[in-house]
Every structure is written in C-alpha cells, then in structure tokens.
C-alpha cells in the first residue's frame, strides 16, 4: 500500500482512503504551473528537468571545447569576435592561457558531472525506474525533487564562477592540490575554486539524495510478480549505478572537506614544502598531495562506471527491442554488470601509476584493471550476439545503441594499453588518454543518452522526434566523433601531452599543426550538428508527430502499458501484474509478448 500512500500523502491535500485509491487510480490533481512544472514531485517531470538542464550544460560544456579547440587549431590566428564575447580572457582575439586552462577545466567538470552523471542517470533513473518496475512514483518523491534542486543549485554556483573577476577554477577537473588548495597559486584558484568546491558539494548531496531513492525504489516498490530477475537490464544498470554513487561520492566529499580545511583553515593535509613565486615559502608541512589523489580517484574511477553503466543498460534494452530478439545472455549481462561494479572500486590507483605510487602496489592495480576487460568483453559479445540474425529495425535509437557498442569497443581496447603501468609511463597525460576516455566514456555515454532519448521520447512527450533530422544527427556525430578522437591516438603515441596551451612552439609537435586544425574543424561541425538535435527536441515537444499507439516500438516492458500521456501515478486503475521476463521477442511465433501477459500452458521455456 505504500505506493499509494506515498503518492497521495505528498501530492494531494485531500484525504484518500486506501481501497478507493487502489480501485480508482484516475486522479484529478489540481496542479498549478508551479507544482506541475517547477517544484514537481512527479518522477517523469523531474526526469525531464534533469534532461533539459543536462542539455543546457552539454551545450555550454561543448561550446567551451569548441573555444579551446580554436586555440589549438589556430594558435596564431586572432578572432576579434572572441574578444567581444570573452573580454579580457581573449585579449586581441586570442584566448589567453588562463582562460584556456579555465575552459579545459570547466569543460571536464561540466561534462563529467553535470551532463553525463546528472543528465544521464538523473534523467533515465527518474524516468524509467518507476515506469519499468511498476510503481506509482519513487520511494520518496520529495527527496527526488530535492535531488533535482540541489543539482540546479550546484549548476547555478558553477555558472556564477564563470563570471567572477579572477575567473573559474583552472587547475583541471580533478582539482589536485596544491593548485586547488592555494588561492595564490593561480587566478582560478581564488574565488573560482571556492565556487567550484561549493558547487561540487551541492552536486554530491544531489547525487546521494537521488541514489538513495533509486535503490530504495528498485528494492522495495516493484509491482506484483516483478522479481529481481524479471527486471529489464536498464533497471539493473541504473541500480548498480546508484550503488556506485552512494558508496563513492561520500569518499569524494571527505576528500573535499579536507581540501576545504587546507584552503581556508591553514591545515596541511595535502600541502608540504611549497614555495610560491611572489609569496615565498609556505609554513605548511607534513601533508601529501597523493592522499588527495587516492580520495579523489576512489570516487573518480567508479564515476566512469556511473557514467557508462546506464548507457550499457539503455543500449541493451534498445537493442533487444529493435533486433526483435531476446537479449543474449541475460544472466551473463547481469553478472558482468555486478563484476564491473565490484571491480570499479579496486582499480582507482591506475590513475596514479606515475604519481610516485609504489610500483609493487601498482602491479596489483594492473591485474585488477585488466580483469575489467573480462566482464566488458562478455557484454560486447552479448550485444553482438543479440544483433546476430536479428530482424533489425534501424530506428535512430537503434543506430545510437549500435554506435555505442562501436565506441565502447574501440575506446575499451585502448584501456588495455593504459592499464599497464609500464606502458602508462609513456602514455600518461598524453593525447592517447584523451582519446581513450573521450571515446569510451564521453562519446559512448552520450550515445547511450541519445539512444535513450530517441527511444523514450514518445513516452516522455507523447510525440515523435523527426526521423530525418535524427539520421543526419546520428551519422555526422558518429563519423565526426571518430574523426575527432581517432587522430589523437597518434598524437598521444608521439608523446604530445594533454592540457598544453600552445603546441606550435614545440619542435616535436609542430608536425601536428594541420592535424590539430583538422580536429578543430570536425569538432565545430559536430557541435553544430548537436544544435540540430536540440532544434529537433524542442520543436517536436510542440509540433512533433503525435503518438497514436500505446506501444509504438512493440516493446514488452511496463512503461508501454501506461496511457500515452501518463499522469502522476502512471497507471489509471491498478498497477499491472508481471508474469514473465522482459525479453520475450520472437517467441513461439509471436513478435513480442508483453510482461503483463500470463505464461500460457503450451508455451515453450526461454
């Protein structure tokens, strides 16, 4: 009964006696604009809020990368428009070094946390969990709303840091001390860093509030018959994502708390023997910057799986539906998700091979890191075998799901290179690592997100996205992503370090001037294509083709049993009961058998 109680206890003022609620689920909420669109407690609206906020951040973060790519592609060229746009940060139309570092830092922070964490798992966990497990809403809709508003506040604080006089934080998205701990170390380390750390603390709170809710909802609020092994893989992926977040974000927070004390209260957790030009020797003694790296990467590594697991879940679901075949190896998919979740906590030091880590300790981390290749390979094998001899419908969502697998393979393979501590000595902090994580985490994560948006858009807005625009969007993004990041492998192997402001002054890297220009050009084209998607998204909300059928993709999962435009509470009347797993496609001559259909007497086993 808690399902009903939670929904009605919070959203409607009038008393609702329990059995009335169970029989008559059709509610007439008298919602004002504010309770419906702004301080909404409906998980579907919160999901859309996360999605659209994430999209705003994706555009800002993407634009930052275009700006610093301009500097990399055309280091001598002056762009007067930049000076009118950025003022003193682009004096004479050339992006200044401090501005360049700030752009790189903000691009990383925004994309990793605001877009691929909040925008991806915030959107799809909120949207899919109640709909696919058969719940009226989250365990605590109020906490869910708070989670969004903490994220929103984090965004506002981060945004405001772009406008302070000394600029936003510029020491890299990892915020290593001493750059992050000492205000006198660089302009961005002053107010910019204060705002960065406040924003990130708010973000951690937001993730925790969200994650607690997702876990409690999945474990407690499933409808009748929805056993754990009948859950769609999206839900399993989002479940492990939430577990990773709940266990790793607090550790990051403890790292940040120590950092705050070093910054503001004169302690020496991370600082020792420092001399700053113009300030002199600092009194701090006995600290260790490596300590911060341990605390940071203990979150930082699970964080990359927080990004990629939801994308994996979405890809699995979309692929099975559009290949009209059951997912290959459901239990293996589940087991590999579990293995990845466990291993993700045991590999963090592979980010620190060259930081002075004990090499003997490093060899354990090499072993554990390479072990992740096993569950990853299982997943790739299962995706390919799901496609094998399928009756494939190349919908935009399906294309993105296949594109995701392509990106995951090509980005994952370079992970095997980087996981070796000996090879890492050469590859560390070069463009090779930039190529690796952009393909395997950045682009693959975005592809999972696009697959999810294209697939569930009809459920979100009751309208379709335009397919032609979607295909143009897909092909340019797919080809463009490879054209941008593939050449970076060569630059990295040649030893070109990441984060440098100007490579044209280095004899060894002059040869890459044209290549850098090429990458910049493609980056601009791909960025422009994303604006096309943005247009498609917002145009279709109002003018898109209307969804006429309740189950447009012929899918088995519960969200397609709700009305085309579900109200708060999702189902009119009772929540449907579940009788089977979600992947009965092409079984016994039926194209698909929804989860709500009871198992027939003569039915074959799957």
């Amino acid at each position: 009964m808690s399902n009903e109680a939670i929904l009605h206890g919070q959203t409607t003022g009038h008393a609702h006696d329990a059995d009335h609620g169970a029989l008559d689920g059709h509610h007439h909420h008298h919602e004002s604009f504010i309770t419906k669109y702004i301080f909404s407690q409906d998980h579907k609206m919160i999901a859309k809020q996360f999605l659209i906020t994430g999209m705003v951040w994706a555009i800002l973060g993407g634009l930052m990368s275009v700006l610093f790519r301009l500097q990399l592609g055309y280091p001598d060229q002056s762009f007067p428009i930049l000076e009118s746009l950025l003022g003193k940060w682009a004096k004479g139309g050339i992006i200044q070094a401090d501005a360049y570092y700030a752009l790189v830092t903000m691009h990383g922070t925004v994309l990793v946390f605001f877009v691929l964490t909040a925008g991806l798992s915030g959107t799809f966990a909120n949207f899919l969990i109640p709909l696919q497990i058969g719940a009226r809403d989250m365990a605590s809709p109020f906490m869910n709303m708070l989670s969004y508003w903490f994220f929103f506040a984090a965004g506002i604080v981060m945004l405001s840091s772009l406008f302070v006089e000394t600029g936003p934080f510029s020491g890299g998205w990892t915020a290593y001390p001493p750059l992050s701990a000492l205000g006198s170390a660089s302009p961005g380390s002053k107010t910019g860093m204060d705002l960065w750390i406040i924003s990130m603390a708010l973000f951690v709170v937001s993730s925790l509030l969200g994650g607690l809710n997702y876990i409690a909802t999945i474990l407690n609020m499933r409808t009748k018959g929805m056993s754990m092994t009948r859950l769609p893989l999206t839900i399993w992926a989002l479940f492990f994502t939430a577990v990773l977040g709940v266990l790793s974000f607090p550790v990051l927070l403890s790292g940040f708390i120590l950092l705050i004390f070093d910054r503001n209260f004169g302690t020496s957790f991370y600082l020792s023997d420092i001399f700053i030009n113009g300030v002199g020797a600092l009194p701090n003694e006995g600290g260790s910057a490596i300590l911060y790296q341990h605390l940071f990467w203990f979150l930082g590594h699970p964080e990359v799986y927080i990004i990629i697991l939801p994308a994996m879940g979405i890809a699995s679901e979309v692929m099975s539906i559009n290949a009209r075949k059951p997912i290959f190896g459901y239990m293996a998919m589940l087991g590999s998700l579990f293995a990845i979740a466990i291993l993700s906590f045991l590999v963090w030091a592979h980010h620190m091979f060259v930081s002075g880590l004990n090499p003997f300790l490093g060899s354990f981390f090499v072993l554990l890191t390479l072990l992740i290749a096993v569950p990853s390979a299982i997943k790739v094998f299962n995706w390919l075998t799901t496609l094998w001899r399928g009756n494939i419908r190349f919908t935009p969502a399906m294309l993105y799901a296949i594109g995701f697998v392509s990106m995951f393979i090509s980005g994952g393979l370079t992970g095997i290179f980087l996981g070796n501590s000996a090879l890492d000595i050469h590859l560390h902090d070069t463009y090779f690592i930039v190529a690796h994580f952009h393909i395997v985490m950045g682009v693959a994560g975005m592809f999972g997100m696009f697959a999810g948006i294209y697939h569930w858009y009809p459920k979100m807005y009751g309208r379709y996205l335009n397919n032609t625009l979607a295909y143009i969007h897909f092909w340019i993004t797919m080809v463009g992503a490879y054209l941008i990041f593939w050449p970076m492998h060569y630059q990295g192997l040649a030893g070109m370090p990441r984060r440098y402001y100007d490579y044209s002054v280095w004899e060894s890297f002059k040869q890459f001037t044209d290549l850098n220009r090429f990458i910049t050009t493609v980056a601009m084209i791909v960025f422009a294509t994303q604006l096309l998607f943005l247009f498609n998204f917002f145009y279709s909300i109002f003018k898109g083709r209307k969804v006429k059928s309740q189950n447009p993709w012929g899918a088995n999962t519960l969200e397609w049993t709700t009305p085309i435009n579900p109200g708060h509470g999702n189902w009119e009347g009772e929540i449907p009961e579940v009788h089977r797993w979600p992947y009965d496609y092409g079984k016994d001559g039926h194209d698909f058998i929804a989860q709500t259909v009871p198992v027939g007497a003569s039915e074959s086993k799957h």
């Binding site: 009964m1 365990a139 876990i215 709940v246 302690t267 020792s272 003694e285």
Partner: protein, 193 residues
Amino acid sequence: MMATLSREQKNKIHPYKFILLIAIGSIVMMFAGFTSAYVVKSNQSNWLQFSMPPVFWYSTIVMLISSLTIYLAEKAFKAREMARYRVLITITAILGLVFMLLQWFGFSYLEEHGVQIIGSGSNPAASFIGVITGVHMLHVLGGVVALLIMFFKAFSSRRKSYSGVPIDMMNIYWHFVDGLWIYLFIFFLYVSS
C-alpha cells in the same frame, strides 16, 4: 484487495526506513574514507604523536547513555506512554548537545597542551582528529535537529501520530552515530599510539 496488499507490505521494510539504512551505508563510506586517509598519512613522515583528551571518555559515556534513553523512548512510544516518551526524547536531545560540548572541550584541551588543530603550524595528525570528530559532531547535530522536530510534533495537540516509523528510524540513526563515535574513538586510541 486491501488484505493482500497489506499482507504483502507487512513483510517489507518501510521505504523511508530502507532509505535511512542505505544513507547510513553512505555515511560509513565517508568515514571509511577519512579513517583510511588517516592510516595512510600516519605511516608517512612528520606525524605528531600525542595522547587523546581524557574528556573524550566522558563524551563516550554520555553518548552511551543517550542511546539507552532513545531506546527507552521508543519503548514508551509503543506503550503509548506519551509523557514518558516526551521526557525521554528531550533528555536524548540534551545529551546529544552535551556530547558536542564535551567534544569541544576535547579540542580546547588539545590546543591548551600545544597540539594545534587548525591554522599555521598545525600537524595533520591533530587536524585529522579535528575534522573527523567535527564531521561526526555535525551528524549528531543532525540527529538533535530531528529529535527537536519530533519533540514539537509530540507536543502538537492538533495532530496525533500513531506511526512508529519516525521513532524507529530515529532509534536506528542515533544508535548508528553512537556506534560510529565508539569506532572512531577506539580507532584514534589504537592507530595514533
């Protein structure tokens, strides 16, 4: 219909209580992060050795007593002895504040004995004690605030609540911060020496 639903729900843990349990797991991870950092740092050079403030023993006793009073408060609530319940949660909240005060005395004891917690010249060994204990105090403060809310709800004559979930959750949380402090104290005693 109703009967089946409520029977199903009976075996299940209340979602809010479940959220609290996961949140506790999350807090545990935070302190695991702190104490691991402490262990790593204590094995490196320039680590100051000093003894714990004796007042921490008193604060531990206060915390243990408060765990007993919150336990009795839940018993009183379940027996519908509301007067006793109100007194007991009030005592628990006061004990929580006393605990925080005693921790504060512990900090001043360290400062008086030349062990600086923050500021220029402080050693990470002492700063860690300050930060970890301080963050724990914030968690106790959170519990005290929750107790105050329950206190006012218990005195409200307009609404009567018979749900045992809030006091049950309060109990779990309070025993948790109590256990957390005992862990931290033992940890400090053994690892720092």
